[in-house]
Subunit: 483 residues, 2 copies
């Protein structure tokens, strides 16, 4: 999926420079907290001013480090046919990640569990608009957190051949998942170090803090040349200034600090600039998505990422509690901001609801139609003599119709996108069919899509190695948890 | 409402020229039917080849005539505060026009009638995202068609002070409505001839035909310097070639023929280039909207209009039968194609359903949020020292929050757009409130908005003159009907 037009910006190039300079001022004057002794000593060694956990970094150092980030790279999937290129004019869509709940029409809303996790992974595998996994499409909370990453990653790798993500909840989890990906890809450690095959999202604890597990995630993954996306969670009015520009100044400062740290870990490590700035409802403090401010921030984030020649991550977000009109328009506006703003990677591209608190089966199916619509709209419009159909226009003449024209007959089968969910029947036929809403039509499609799922064909050797590793680590108790 | 970025195109400038040339070839070689003796003699006098009702027009003549069309002009409303500028980077939204049915949650779907017509006019008047009327927001079919234009226009002019439209269903109707607009604007005939105050939509009978009443509409309105929008109804695969480029070649030929004819009637008469190309479902023949092909055609239409320096009209269309997710995403994608494609006028901007067969009260309220979202997104992002909020970032520091910051307190009241319909409560609160969908929330707002309606304050003299004219014309039997 390629973007074939220049991204649209919402401020001038001069204003981009002002935001850039203001962010650098934040990092040099106010500084950022890095809650990890090793990170602090690395910054001190690099010449930053370290005062307790506060790190103040000169503009030159930030810019020099960030400049080492690659503009484009490949994210390798277990199946090479599922590799995706990140950066340039590529647009990659990932499924929803990390909601604590899931819902469908049949079973309602429930706490995330392994059965739903597995079914949503299968659905994500079948839907072609999902290019990579975004993480856990729902949190399998019935697996103890000490071993959740082991069981969940084994499920992901045995149910799907699309690229996976690990959560940065401590170094050992990163290492475990990286080893599992190495096994399934059938490569050596050295090969893995030259082939980005795993990603993690690093959320800053806005304002201006990077927590211990996040810093461990950067150290583990960047040191192995794996993908780190720094995404500040800068909700304007809550964790960031109440203006779009102010929130993006802070987003930019935090993103640059994280990206610079990734380069300090390993020069040239692949990173993405993540933008997640939105606003809150100032009456309730609730986060809002798909708003005018969200669209502006998504596009401004893209302008900042391009300022540094970095791949840009955005989202397909909404705050709706059910798969109604609100869910669809907030998602469509989020996609508008992301795609027109030049996003290279759209996390939560399919299935996200409730500001991230719920994964919806029906929303995932509907988002497949939305993502495919955007994808096909970006395809080149065929031009030239045959596409113009002048012979058909002459053949039909004034007042006729084109259904029977030779030009139509030769092309009609695959002339147009056929969405899965849209109901284009007239009102009377639709009413006779029981007046189904899009949500209900999507619900009917879910079992049909799940029936199409086929697990990847992993060799016996790979399966054995993967199971041996997973079972051994589970037997060892996984990782320590602090609860 | 101003567009602050360059419109996005889907083909190269060279390809625009190829489409331009192909359209001119259609007009010179195949020609177009003009079903009106006077139009035929005007074309013959201008040097076109007229053969029975078929007119073949040389490229030079088309281009010379089209070049006389103004790039920008004002559409005067009964209240000057409601005037709108058409062209340039202005984007004007009009309410839905002409559906034969209307619906709301309370009363379901019913045949268009005067009561719904009046209520939808009042709703269109109250909603600030409606910049002008698009026509009749629902067809008042219980008014006999011989006098419908008289009663309906009187309702429009006494219930609202936004600019109105007349339907081109014969010259006398155009003349009657123009006189009613003149009365309410309180101007002379000569003044009206220099102040565009009324518009009409001219749909070609695609392929390649302009019917008698449409040609009368152009002759009546263009001769009086009123606005004529030529909108071919080129559904790809049905009334036009099955390709996007082919359908737009035909759209362009038909639009240019109509616009050139308007200039033949009066050089410099204000026109808009209308684009309405979409595709049909090739299995059923049903029209589709908000599809990838629709978006491409909307943007390609904008490129063609800009080729001629003409204001561009697009739509906010959907094919959904209820105000569900489908209605919202098809509308959002239609808006995306229109606004990013450089539309100056979005007809059916609020309230359209079912491919134009139904006006929905709830959809009109929801579309108000959609249009306002797009409008506010296009506003400049405030930049500069105070907007950046560096003091607030310093004040809050790492790990704090911005709710209490001075910067937030000074700005929070109107920091962000507050949509009418969006529900941003968390799931539990939303469920306790009865799990309302966006459609149900919009339904609750309809009576509240209607309560806000106030009729325009027309003077007694104007009211008397308007009533005298209307009653006299009704007493005369209105216009002849052929049924």
């Amino acid at each position: 999926m390629k973007r074939r037009f220049d991204p649209v910006g919402v401020v001038s190039d001069d204003e981009v420079e002002h935001i850039h300079n203001a962010s650098l001022e934040v990092l040099s004057d106010i500084g950022m907290e890095f809650l990890h002794p090793k990170a602090l000593s690395m910054w001190a060694d690099a010449g930053a001013k370290v005062d307790d956990t506060r790190v103040r970094i000169d503009p030159e150092l930030i810019c020099e480090l960030v400049a080492h980030s690659p503009a484009e790279f490949t994210l390798h999937a277990p199946d090479p046919a599922r590799n995706v290129v990140i950066g340039g004019n590529n647009v990659v869509f990932a499924a929803v990640a990390s909601p604590p709940n899931s819902s469908d029409v049949a079973g309602g809303r429930r706490t995330g569990n392994r059965e739903d996790f597995r079914r949503l992974v299968m659905l994500s595998d079948v839907i072609n608009a999902v290019h990579t996994h975004g993480g856990y499409p729902v949190e399998p909370t019935d697996i103890h957190s000490s071993i959740r990453h082991l069981e969940a990653t084994r499920d992901l790798l045995t149910l799907s051949n699309k690229a996976v993500k690990c959560y940065s909840l401590g170094a050992q989890r990163n290492r475990d998942v990286l080893e599992m990906v190495r096994i399934v890809r059938g490569v050596t450690d050295d090969e893995l170090d030259t082939q980005t095959s795993l990603q993690t999202i690093i959320n800053t604890s806005s304002p201006l803090r990077l927590d211990t597990p996040m810093l461990e995630g950067i150290m583990e993954l960047s040191s192995r040349n794996q993908l780190v996306t720094i995404t500040p969670f800068t909700l304007a009015g809550a964790m960031a200034p109440v203006t779009v520009a102010g929130a993006v100044v802070q987003q930019n400062a935090e993103a640059l600090a994280g990206i610079a740290f990734a380069q300090l870990v390993r020069l040239g490590a692949p990173v993405m600039y993540g933008g997640f700035t939105s606003n809150v409802d100032m009456r309730s403090g609730a986060p809002a998505f798909g708003t005018p401010e969200y669209m502006q921030a998504a596009m401004l984030g893209g302008q900042m990422a391009r300022r540094y020649n970095l791949p840009y991550r955005s989202s397909n977000a909404c705050a709706a509690n059910t798969v109604d009109a609100q869910a669809a328009w907030e998602s469509a506006f989020s996609l508008w901001g992301a795609v027109m703003g030049g996003a290279n990677f759209v996390l939560h591209g399919l299935g996200w609801m409730e500001g991230g608190l719920c994964a919806s089966y029906e929303k995932m199916v509907i988002d497949a139609d939305l993502v495919n619509t955007v994808s096909l709209w970006m395809q080149p419009v065929e031009t030239g003599a045959d596409a113009f159909g002048l012979d058909a226009i002459a053949e039909v003449g004034p007042g006729g119709h084109f259904f029977g024209a030779a030009h139509t007959q030769a092309r009609y089968r695959d002339a147009f996108f056929e969405p899965m969910v849209s109901d284009w029947r007239n009102f009377e036929s639709w009413e006779e069919a029981g007046s189904p809403t899009a949500r209900e039509k999507a619900a009917e499609l879910v079992p049909q899509l799940l029936d199409q799922h086929e697990p990847p064909d992993l060799s016996d050797d790979v399966m054995a190695e993967l199971n041996d590793f997973t079972e051994r680590r589970i037997a060892e108790g996984g990782v320590e948890t602090d609860f």
